[in-house]
């Protein structure tokens, strides 16, 4: 166990919805980049960024595909901001059974933004490059990750489990899980 602090690069796409002109260029270039071979086709339905639009209500929110979730939340949220009522779960990034975005249109497989990972790496994700209105901007920063804290959290968690199931059972389970790997 090391107590050294490690560095982590945090990649952030900053979304300024006020600057969005609703053109969906981000969807176009995202789906083109992720086609195989690269740029050989495009299709916003496969994009890992979608502009949630309700033009007449002045709703334009670019949202990125996050993790896949096999089950939807126990309840849904619905925001009203500055008098504008947004769709249920509008700001959520999950590829979720509750809605049809962030899924391949034919197979239904989940989509997830990978920040245009490529070799050599791009300066910025392409949606950012194609957004000439600066609704999308990119920021990278380094953060110290304090391993110590994680260690502490882990121990607290394990203690709780040990209290509940007994330490032996926990050790058995850990052994069995590591054999599976």
């Amino acid at each position: 166990m090391t107590e050294e602090k490690t560095k982590k690069i945090i990649k952030t796409i900053k979304v300024d919805v006020d600057k969005c002109n609703g053109c969906r260029a981000c969807e176009v270039i995202c789906s083109a980049f992720h086609a195989t071979p690269e740029y050989s086709s495009n299709n916003p339905a496969r994009s890992r960024i979608r502009v949630i639009r309700d033009p007449l209500k002045d709703i334009y929110i670019p949202v990125y595909a996050g993790e896949y979730t096999p089950a939807e939340c126990m309840g849904r949220d619905k925001y009203t901001i500055d008098g504008k009522e947004y769709d249920e779960c509008a700001f959520c990034r999950a590829s979720c059974p509750s809605r049809d975005i962030f899924k391949e249109p034919d197979s239904g497989l989940p989509l997830k933004c990978d920040m245009c990972e490529s070799d050599p790496p791009l300066d910025e994700p392409l949606c950012v490059q194609w957004c000439l209105n600066d609704a999308l901007t990119y920021e990278e920063r380094e953060e110290d990750v304090e391993e110590e804290v994680e260690q502490e959290e882990l121990e607290i968690g394990l203690e709780a489990l040990a209290d509940k199931f007994g330490l032996d059972k926990i050790m058995d389970t850990v052994a069995r899980m590591s054999m599976k790997d």
Binding site: N21, A25, Y39, S41, N42, N43, R53, L56, L132
Partner: protein, 668 residues
């Protein structure tokens, strides 16, 4: 595999309710590219020239352009083609927005309607599922309202809807088709849609669009975006603000309207108000604009912001673009607040923002002149602005005087008589034009106004400046990075062009130069209209990102069609000639090719004749403006040549025009 296009059209027979998915011939794409080109080919092949616009045999074609839906920025235009009830000639009117790319993703290049539906319907295209649905519950609904209702009822907020309002349903000749922030407004295509009983077309698509040589294509797209950035940062100096940048004139962004309000005509294109714009007006209009404009918006895959969301307190939100901001305001001698308010109602009714205000001002002028009487105008309010609302309501419902005015100023004047014809003074080929009256004839514009098949003063301009630059320094500065010119000689034309003296309008640019400039400008438009790329990024503004030098590679890498500059120029010429041929077969002749009588104060009949003579020759047309056999054959349009002989449009292979051709087909 087909690239950029899908290779399929939808054929809808409205009378029988039959829907077919038909594979298209890739050779047609090679010849006519797509969009306007292939639609013109279909119109030529399938609709006989004697067909009445409101006949079931008339086709109404909704087309994407060849590059629509690809990553090419601004490739989003829907091109609608049919015969116009107003001009009786071919109509092609276009709209941006989001509809065409969605249709491509659904798997189709065009939707072709024939026949008439016995009751009001709408078409729902959801990838492979296409159905004609009852629209009786949408009868009389606004165009914007209809789109929202349809999306709700289909439970598909991502569907794109093109719809008509009451005006289209009632076959008003200036009825538009509205869609998103855009509309196809000119020449009465909304009336044809209404005549066919189609309230709307909703489309949703989730299929791929394929690119032939991806790396090369995307590289070009990136260059286009980079160039747009450069142009945004560096407006063209020495021209008025609306001409300095890209896109359509940035009416939604700018609030300084000194130029428009003092140079364009008010009322029925009559009065110039030279000292109109002052601090007080500016303050008030700026307030009107800033209080109602919620956001600047664009069309699909375009970084520009030519449109705006307009929310006037108390009335429902709509989207506006370009010059409709001022057409109602100026027709009524009113202010911007009125303009924003009445345009909301007009958008829901679905009417052309150029023709409609002019028709209303025309009606009021006739009333003031005593040609229309109190009896004709029974029930008209006394307040000026209220009169415009009243007339708008009558026109779209075809009630009373509205029924006559609904046919536009030309036909209304014919019906009213008593000298009303004099008041329908701002038309080209029976169609209302921009309210612009100028002093000195401009030879380039004379040719474009007179011979443009679009029959529309707006959007036929191009990349050659509208006026000379005052100093040689400015000219040299302009030409030094003018990469768009097809030939270096155009730079010299501009360098030598002066405000006064020998090298000024109307004799300079010379007749020959004028023909060359017009040829360049319209060639770029015909390319755009085939590719579905917005003129705002190409043929319309000065120094655009798309031009004759990068288009060939964009087409070949995108669509997999071999293309070089000469080949592309030839394809555009083929399309331009085919559209001309369609109109010639409908009866259009030299006598119809003229600008509004009073467009310029200083006219030069001999020069104008020479301009037409030379231009026709330059184009390979005979003296009546009819493409010659040789020209047609060179373009591979042999069937057109044969048809002309068979119909005795030309007497023989020598292209001598027949004697008994009446100029301009008249309706009984």
């Amino acid at each position: 595999m087909r690239y950029a296009e899908t290779g399929y059209n939808l054929e809808i027979d409205l009378a029988r309710g039959n829907i077919e998915r038909v594979e298209t011939d890739p050779r047609d794409t090679e010849l006519f590219l797509g969009g306007l080109g292939t639609s013109a080919k279909i119109l030529w092949d399938r609709v006989p020239p004697e067909t009445d616009p409101f006949s079931p045999d008339n086709l109404l074609i909704f087309s994407t352009g060849l590059l629509c839906g690809t990553p090419a920025p601004g490739a989003n235009r829907t091109i609608v083609t049919t015969y116009s009830p107003q001009t009786l000639l071919m109509a092609y009117s276009m709209m941006g927005g989001f509809w065409a790319p969605e249709l491509k993703h659904a798997g189709y290049d065009k939707v072709i309607f024939r026949g008439k539906s016995p009751n009001l319907v709408y078409l729902w295209i959801n990838n492979d599922n296409v159905e004609i649905r009852d629209a009786s519950h949408l009868q009389g609904k606004g165009a914007v309202e209809t789109a929202e209702l349809i999306k709700d009822e289909l439970n598909d907020p991502k569907a794109q809807v093109a719809a008509i309002g009451l005006a289209g349903e009632n076959r008003v000749y200036m009825a538009s088709i509205e869609q998103g922030r855009s509309s196809a407004s000119r020449l009465g295509i909304g009336a044809v849609m209404g005549d066919k009983g189609i309230k709307a077309i909703a489309v949703r698509g989730t299929k791929d669009i394929n690119i032939a040589r991806p790396a090369e294509f995307i590289e070009l797209c990136n260059e286009v975006l980079q160039y747009i950035k450069v142009r945004e940062e560096k407006p063209v100096p020495g021209v008025m603000p609306i001409l300095a940048g890209l896109g359509s004139p940035q009416e939604m962004k700018l609030h300084d309207e000194k130029w428009h309000t003092e140079n364009f005509m008010w009322g029925n294109s009559r009065t110039r108000r030279k000292d109109f714009w002052n601090k007080e007006v500016e303050k008030k209009w700026k307030e009107s604009q800033e209080n109602t404009r919620t956001r600047l918006v664009s069309c699909y895959n375009c970084p520009m912001k030519c449109g705006a969301l307009i929310s006037v307190p108390g009335i429902s939100t709509y989207m506006m673009k370009c010059f409709s901001k001022l057409t109602y305001t100026m027709a009524a001698y009113s202010d911007l607040d009125f303009g924003f308010r009445i345009a909301q109602r007009a958008t829901e009714y679905g009417v052309d923002g150029f023709s409609t205000p002019q028709v209303m001002a025309f009606g009021l002028e006739l009333y003031e002149a005593g040609i229309l009487t109190d009896q004709d105008m029974e029930g008209m309010p006394s307040d000026n602005e209220e009169r415009f609302y009243w007339l708008l309501d009558r026109i779209v419902r075809r009630e009373g005087i509205g029924d006559i005015l609904a046919d536009g100023t030309y036909w209304a004047a014919q019906k009213i008589g008593k000298g009303a014809e004099e008041y329908a003074h701002n038309n080209i080929k029976k169609h209302e034009q921009l309210p612009l009256k100028l002093s000195m004839l401009n030879p380039v514009y004379f040719l474009m106004y007179s011979t443009g098949e679009k029959i529309n003063i707006t959007q036929i301009e191009g990349q050659f400046p509208q006026a000379p630059f005052a100093t040689m320094e400015e000219r040299e500065d302009f030409v030094k990075d003018w990469i768009q010119v097809p030939d270096e000689k155009f730079k010299q034309y501009l360098l030598d062009w002066e405000f006064r003296g020998e090298n000024s309008n109307p004799y300079y640019p010379t007749v020959q130069m004028s023909c060359e400039i017009v040829d360049w400008q319209e060639t770029m438009h015909y390319i755009d209209d085939a590719l579905g790329i917005c003129a705002g990024l190409s043929s319309f503004p000065l120094k655009p990102p798309y031009h004759i030098h990068n288009y060939p590679t964009l087409i070949s890498s995108g669509a997999g069609i071999d293309m070089d500059e000469a080949g592309l120029w030839q394809a555009a010429k083929r399309n331009r000639t085919l559209v001309r041929a369609i109109n010639v077969r409908r009866g259009m002749r030299r006598a119809d090719e003229k600008p509004p009588e009073d467009h310029w104060k200083k006219r030069f009949p001999e020069l104008e004749e020479e301009l037409l003579d030379t231009y026709y020759k330059f184009k390979g047309w005979n003296n009546e403006g009819i493409p010659t056999r040789e020209t047609l054959q060179e373009l591979g349009l042999d069937d057109v040549a044969e048809d002309f002989v068979q119909r005795e449009i030309v007497k023989d292979a020598e292209d001598t025009p027949s004697d008994d051709i009446s100029a301009g087909k008249e309706k009984e």
